[in-house]
Amino acid sequence: MGLPTPLYDLKDFPDVYEPSEDSHLFLDALEADQESILARSPKLACEIGSGSGILITGLAQLLKNSCAYFSTDINFSACRATAKTALINNSYVESVAMDLLGMFRSPFDVILFNPPYVVTESDEIMGRGLDRAYAGGCGGREIIDKFLATLPSMLSENGVCYLLLLKENNVEDIKEKIRGLGLKGRMVLERKIPGEHLFVFKYFR
């Protein structure tokens, strides 16, 4: 069973990140790993920084109504876009505006994050608009590192997190960091596109 790219319509949401090669790599990674996800029989799944919402909607198409789907974004337009994308694809995602997972009290069984990974100046991480969809600050790592620090407390016992990374994010250093957090990691897919070498990793206990 393949995972079709979910339909989306961003014409009412000009300040939301349009799905691109990174998004498609992420969908391909979920498809490649679907048996492993299904085997964990997740009940609560959340995408962070969901933007258009095609990743969490793609997951919802994979797992159907055996799981509840959530999304967060710091851009309220993106929260609305995600809810709309889910509906267009006959899925349902509970969208909440927040930073990372900071306002949830309980862990998730699946966490998806296509983070702002582009290497930028730190002061480009400002506001809540479209720039925030890609601006990753120093090494492209500022948001990624902030997220990873919270991951052990937000990942359920049998949970799995999928994270997209850029080569310049220093994948080896992130591997060390993951070990330090007491988690295991594995690369699911990698792809070279013009100007970017991208990876999707998964982390679990």
């Binding site: 029989s41 009940k43 609560l44 109504n65 055996s66 799981c67 509840a68 959530f70 710091i74 309220f76 929260c79 609305r80 809810a83 349902y92 509970e94 969208s95 909440v96 505006a97 927040m98 930073d99 900071g102 306002m103 949830f104 009290r105 309980s106 809540r128």
Partner: protein, 124 residues
């Protein structure tokens, strides 16, 4: 916002707030949307839910109906209970209103069914 989501949200990361749970719901618009019932899914969800918080949330917006105050011990086999739980968790939706932090009184507006839980930098 479904009541399952309400069950999972906290305002504890606000500076000076110690528990921030459960958030108070002030609803101005509530809808009930029928969704496909999956008994296995609901029964696996029950252990993850704070049931008294769910009951009180449903009651506070006038939708407790025949929801039991406590989850029965045999909930896994109790289809009738699981259907009521399904309705409360994923069919009742708050479309607009506010969530309110029980300690600080900070309001989080809900619009288009989406709670806005964004904090300003000086709040945490």
């Amino acid at each position: 916002m479904k009541l399952l989501t309400h069950n999972m949200l906290t305002s504890k990361c606000i500076r000076g707030v110690s528990v921030g749970y459960p958030l108070i719901i002030n609803a101005t618009e509530v809808k009930v949307n029928q969704t496909l019932f999956n008994s296995e899914f609901v029964s696996k969800l029950i252990p993850k839910v704070d049931w008294p918080v769910l009951y009180n949330a449903a009651e506070s917006i006038g939708h407790s109906e025949d929801l039991p105050k406590e989850a029965p011990n045999d909930f896994e086999q109790n289809e009738e209970f699981l259907k009521k739980a399904h309705r409360a968790l994923v069919e009742i939706e708050v479309i607009s209103g506010n969530l309110v932090c029980p300690e600080s009184g900070r309001k989080f507006p809900i619009s288009n069914g989406i709670p806005n839980m964004l904090l300003n930098e000086d709040e945490f």
